[in-house]
């Protein structure tokens, strides 16, 4: 089945007629994603990429039966767009925008707390189940169908790991970018749980970063609840404390959230830790075969 998105997912794009949205929607469609329409307020009734454009998400859901939304609106408008998607009953909301104010996300999470939906991102390349459904901006051609789940905070480091896997013939069930922000929609535990429950996933690669407790929390959860092996890496071994390394979430604020401290704890908790990012694929290959 893969996790969160699959070949029967009915995808809409919010901010559909924008330049980036158009480019990536086209690329997704060319790779088999079922994009059923899009939303651009004020352009309802138009046709874009041979798909209907709606003014509101609820109209789009009513007319197309959409259950997944890719949000391509700029950061200042993203929180509103996420809440609109949730209100319309979308089950999986993928937020590409990088630079959403943190307190906007705090409010979004409160709004989402009593709705049964998955928010992927923000600040993510998105999610892809290879050859079935892609909602995001990643280069599809490096992914291939397979049985390894991938979950990462970083986008380009996700590509790096996937290419290392693909070079060794390991494909992906689903690859999820949870995003680099300190307050984000979905944490590692939620994705690990989905991979554990997915019969088409045999093992998981988890790629974290400095800052915050979530990689260790996930390793702790995995030790108690997971039967499938997990290979893990945390980027930022060489990062100095107190300096934010690009991602809003990537800052070492105490002794416990340095890369090495996290990897030591993950190792103790049973994760197969790889310390050299150039060997993620090789390590996974050795552990999983």
């Amino acid at each position: 089945m893969s996790v969160f998105v699959h070949k029967h997912s009915r995808v809409i794009i919010q901010g559909f007629t924008g330049q980036h949205a158009t480019f990536h929607a086209e690329e997704s469609m060319a790779n088999g994603t079922n994009v059923v329409g899009g939303v651009t307020p004020g352009k309802g009734g138009q046709i874009h990429l041979e798909r209907p454009v709606f003014d509101t998400v609820s109209q789009a859901v009513e007319e197309t039966g959409a259950d997944v939304s890719g949000i391509f609106v700029p950061p200042p408008f993203a929180a509103d767009a996420i809440m609109e998607a949730l209100e319309a009953g979308i089950g999986v909301v993928v937020v590409i925008a990088d630079g959403i104010p943190v307190q906007d996300m705090v409010r979004v999470k409160r709004y989402a707390s009593d709705r049964n939906a998955i928010i992927i991102g923000p600040n993510t390349p998105g999610i892809i189940t290879p050859a079935a459904c892609k909602v995001g901006i990643m280069p599809s051609h490096i992914y291939q169908p397979g049985r390894i789940g991938v979950v990462s905070r970083s986008g380009t480091l996700n590509y790096e790991a996937v290419q290392q896997m693909s070079a060794l013939g390991m494909g992906q069930s689903t690859s999820v970018g949870i995003g680099g922000d300190p307050v984000n929609g979905t944490d590692f535990v939620t994705v690990l749980r989905a991979f554990e429950e997915d019969p088409e996933t045999d093992a998981v690669i988890m790629i974290g970063e400095i800052g915050g407790p979530q990689e260790v929390d996930a390793a702790r959860w995995a030790r108690e609840n997971m039967s499938k092996p997990v290979v893990g890496f945390v980027a930022g071994i060489s990062a100095p404390p107190g300096r934010r390394m690009g991602h809003a979430g990537a800052i070492i604020s105490g002794e416990s959230d340095t890369a090495n401290a996290k990897m030591d704890l993950m190792e103790e908790l049973g994760v197969h830790v790889v310390r050299n990012p150039a060997l993620i694929g090789e390590t996974a290959h050795r552990v999983f075969s």
Binding site: Q103, P182, M245, G246, P277, A278
Partner: protein, 390 residues
Amino acid sequence: MNIHEYQTKELLRGYGVPVPNGRVAHNVDNAATVAEELGGERWVVKAQIHAGGRGKGGGVKVASSLDEVRQITDQLIGSNLVTPQTGADGRLVQRVLVEQACDINKEYYLGLVIDRGSQRITVIASASGGMDIEEVAKTTPEKVVREPVDPGVGLREFQCRKIAANIGLKGKQIHAATKLMRALYRCFRDQDALMAEINPLAEVNGGQLMALDAKMSFDGNALYRLPAITELRDFDEEDPKEVEATGHGLNYIALDGNVGCIVNGAGLAMATMDAISFHQGKPANFLDVGGGASPEKVGNAFRIVLADPNVKIILVNIFAGINRCDWIAEGLIKAMQDQQIGVPIVVRLAGTNVEKGAQMLAASGLDFIMADNLDDAATKVMATLGEQGA
């Protein structure tokens, strides 16, 4: 984005948080006038730089006469203040805050952060004020009170009373603390703060609570809706190379090694530094060119990395998703032609339009050391440095 203490206090005063009477001064005469106008017999003169630990560095002094105010101000302004947070070079002091001194009975700690665990704004308070809260949290975690705020209803009065009681406040102070906390929370929420810290929150003279020191930082992604905060930005407090990089849409952080790094994506940039370190190399910088890296952006990245005289080699590592390898290649070739680049360049390209990018580099006839993957790139960087005897 950080602001100065005097700016934070003015902001908080506007929200109703009690702060000492005081004003900023830019020179000796100015400081004496401020002290005279404030009145009283003792004043505190505080160097205004963004780094913490000013007390330990000698940047906070008490004066008992206007002459002393002058003397201290004269010492501080124009000096480089070294604190545990500034590094050995210190930070140039350009202004001081002159405040009426108060007698302190007891010190507390009060802070607001966006807690990654609860994913909510969270109040942190402790009876151990004036100290490093992380140290307190480590040694005596039971002395630190944490209270997450539901963003739907905001910080409630009962929560403030609970926090106040838990750090040992009594009687009328509980009501005063409740008012103060709610004012601080309103400021934090309205101004898109990421962190606010009142340390110490002091019980002064007649039992009144007062924010003796205050620090706040704000969300750079929200500045578009915070015109008043944006105006408070002090570029003198930021690394000029980092400011220049930000202006070009690049994310640059200087480090102390000799391998210059130009990478796209924060995670891959960190991983590239890690791969170099794994091979016993030392990265000279973190640099993320971001998505949509135009040839101009690549050129600017080279200029900024090469401005660091320690750089002996550059590793360009691009995994193009939203980027395109041919744009990167165009930028590389142009940078090589336009700039005096006296160091070897190792290039690893992958992702969107990789064949086209690689062909362009090969056809240019320029001397790029091409790498197939991350491991190969790190290996070639170290081998080349070895040949140079660096």
